[in-house]
Amino acid sequence: MGNFLSALLLQAGYNAALVATGSALLGFAAGASGTFLFLRKRALVSDAVAHATLPGVGLAFILMVALGGDGRSLLGLLAGSAVTAALGLLLVEWIARRTRLSEDAAIGAVLSVFFGVGIVLLTVIQTMSAGRQAGLESFLLGSTAGMLFQDAVVIAVGGTLAVLATYLLRRPMTLVAFDPEYAAASGYDVRRIDLAMMGLVMAVTVIGLKLVGLILIVAMLIVPPVTARFWTERAGRVVWIAGALGGVAGYLGAAISASAPALPTGPIIVLVAAGLFLLSLVLAPARGVAAALLRHRRFQRRVHRRQGLLALARSEPILERYTLRVLRAEGLVRPDGVATEAGRAQAAKVARDECRWDIARQVHQDAGLTGRYDGLTPIEEVFTADEIEAFDSRLGGPRPVGGLA
């Protein structure tokens, strides 16, 4: 616990502080720029792009060694990964647009082929004399050991640019994700905006490669936006909430992994993000599972109450146990099933409401009205007292007894 706290406060050594800061920045950039891909329902394109980075890493290493340089130069490797990632991205887009294959098939094909090529290259590199200590496998699952200051700078600069571009393009990307036809009719080039959207994601993937690895970076791009969606109904806010959640997950994950010797950083970050997702899934006020369940329960209760009271008014037997329970809990029915004084009064009221609605539907044969009669809305909420009086006069309620005067 002490280790965790000191890691949380950036007091667990230079490397741990660097990793925590880098992870937080990467988390923010990934969450924010992954949002529109998620809203466009193309989240998995990022998986293909991430896997397509691997052959680039291998090729860049071989090229740099062949030119007599140090094959491990991070910027060189990232540049190589960006090239093949872009190639993979364009290929997915081309297959989906120009052939009869759908996008999911394109993603599957590109992902596996590029990853396969990458693994072959990595194996070849293992046999090269310069390749033994290359440590390129760390690009698969990420590695924080020996993270350099320049690595953090790459993340900071690249991440800032990605967030800035997301901010700049937020309106076109919102339009394209929400209503691509309208976007095209308004003169936006939908294809270019889509490519920009995926290009952003590609950039974040490349800069995060070293830290979390190509297999798990997808989680940082997708999970925070999905989590953020639970908390707001506005696209602009999803971006920032996703960024914040990603940043928190990155920071907390790095701190947790720094507090114990055997905890890998990338996977822990993803697990923290998944924890935040689970919390939101259950607890979010409007879209969460708990809230939805509660709403459904309340609604069901109202339906049963109404049906039970109508049955009382028509002296029909109430067979459903739940209905009886609801009425009993409100003191409308005695334990032996006989209506109480209050129950009879309520039943009469509900029956009258129902009759008034019958008249109202006859008088206003309007499609707009049918939407307002859900069987539960008291008529007083829809019509004025005068209108209800008019309905009552047509109801032909109790008339004075006696002949004509």
Partner: protein, 275 residues
């Protein structure tokens, strides 16, 4: 055996000339010339010429699959056209894009998208604001005003998917109003909406016409053509007829458009022009 008589056809091209095209009238809101759109190798719209009238409400009518929506989308560049030209107020569409407002069919939208009603209306202002601009209070009050015009002022904060179909359609009309265009193109605005919405929409469209705007609707309800619209454009892959409702909306033209699909009993109930 008599040989079949061959009707002599004089081709202008054989004399080495091609008939010059009439100039595109600059005041026509939308002109289509030889517009062809195909899905695969099956033309959905074939070589259609159309000139839509200014300060009028035009209905595009035709059977299902006749290319009504396709024609509109191709004119706007939403789907690629195989051939043909499009002119908006005498200019290429990319120059005059800001003078057009489009209301797509409701089906094209992601209803669970995180956006509120007022956000949707503000989308109509995105192009005017630009990438770097800010949406100001003036923009917001403009959007609210447009919502009020379609009777949706009370729903500004709702998520778009929580509205009924008719309410959603009105919100999309409000988004088009926010663009303050000169030409309004609507794709089946009355499809699947309630009576109150239909009235609200037609009132707004008539108000637009009164402000000297042009309105073009893809329309499917023949019964309301005569009461809602001034002009009709009949299409079934090819252009069948175009003109004022009073002259063009005839039984003959409808038969040419719909073929046997239109029952005579149905025709009797329509307020048809005598042609």
């Amino acid at each position: 055996m008599t040989r079949p008589t061959e009707t002599p056809i004089t081709l202008a091209a054989t004399e080495g000339r091609v008939t010059p095209r009439a100039a595109i009238p600059a005041d026509a809101p939308l002109v289509l010339r030889g517009l062809t759109v195909s899905y695969g190798e099956k033309p959905a719209v074939f070589s259609v010429d159309a000139t839509f009238a200014p300060e009028a409400m035009t209905a595009i009518i035709g059977p299902n699959g006749a290319g009504k929506s396709t024609m509109l989308k191709a004119a706007l560049g939403v789907i690629p056209r195989l051939s043909g030209e499009v002119a908006v107020f005498g200019q290429p569409i990319d120059v005059a894009r800001d003078r057009i407002a489009y209301v797509p069919q409701r089906a094209s939208v992601d209803w669970d998208f995180p956006t509120t009603v007022i956000d949707v209306v503000l989308m109509g202002l995105y192009r005017r604001v630009g990438l770097l601009g800010r949406l100001t209070g003036a923009h917001l009050s403009r959007a609210r005003d447009c919502l009020d015009r379609v009777g949706m002022g009370d729903f500004a904060a709702r998520q778009i998917g929580q509205l009924s179909g008719g309410q959603q359609q009105r919100v999309f009309l409000a988004r088009a109003l926010a663009q303050d265009a000169d030409l309004y193109l609507l794709d089946e605005p009355f499809a699947g909406v309630d009576a109150a919405t239909e009235r609200a929409i037609i009132d707004v469209l008539k108000a637009l016409k009164a402000q000297k705007k042009a309105v073009v609707c893809v329309h499917h309800d023949l019964a309301t053509v005569a009461s809602y619209f001034d002009e009709v454009f009949l299409i079934n892959v090819r252009r069948i007829a175009q003109g004022p409702v009073a002259e063009t909306f005839t039984a003959e033209n409808l038969h040419a458009t719909y073929g046997g699909r239109l029952a005579t009993t149905h025709l009797d109930q329509l307020d048809l022009a005598q042609g």
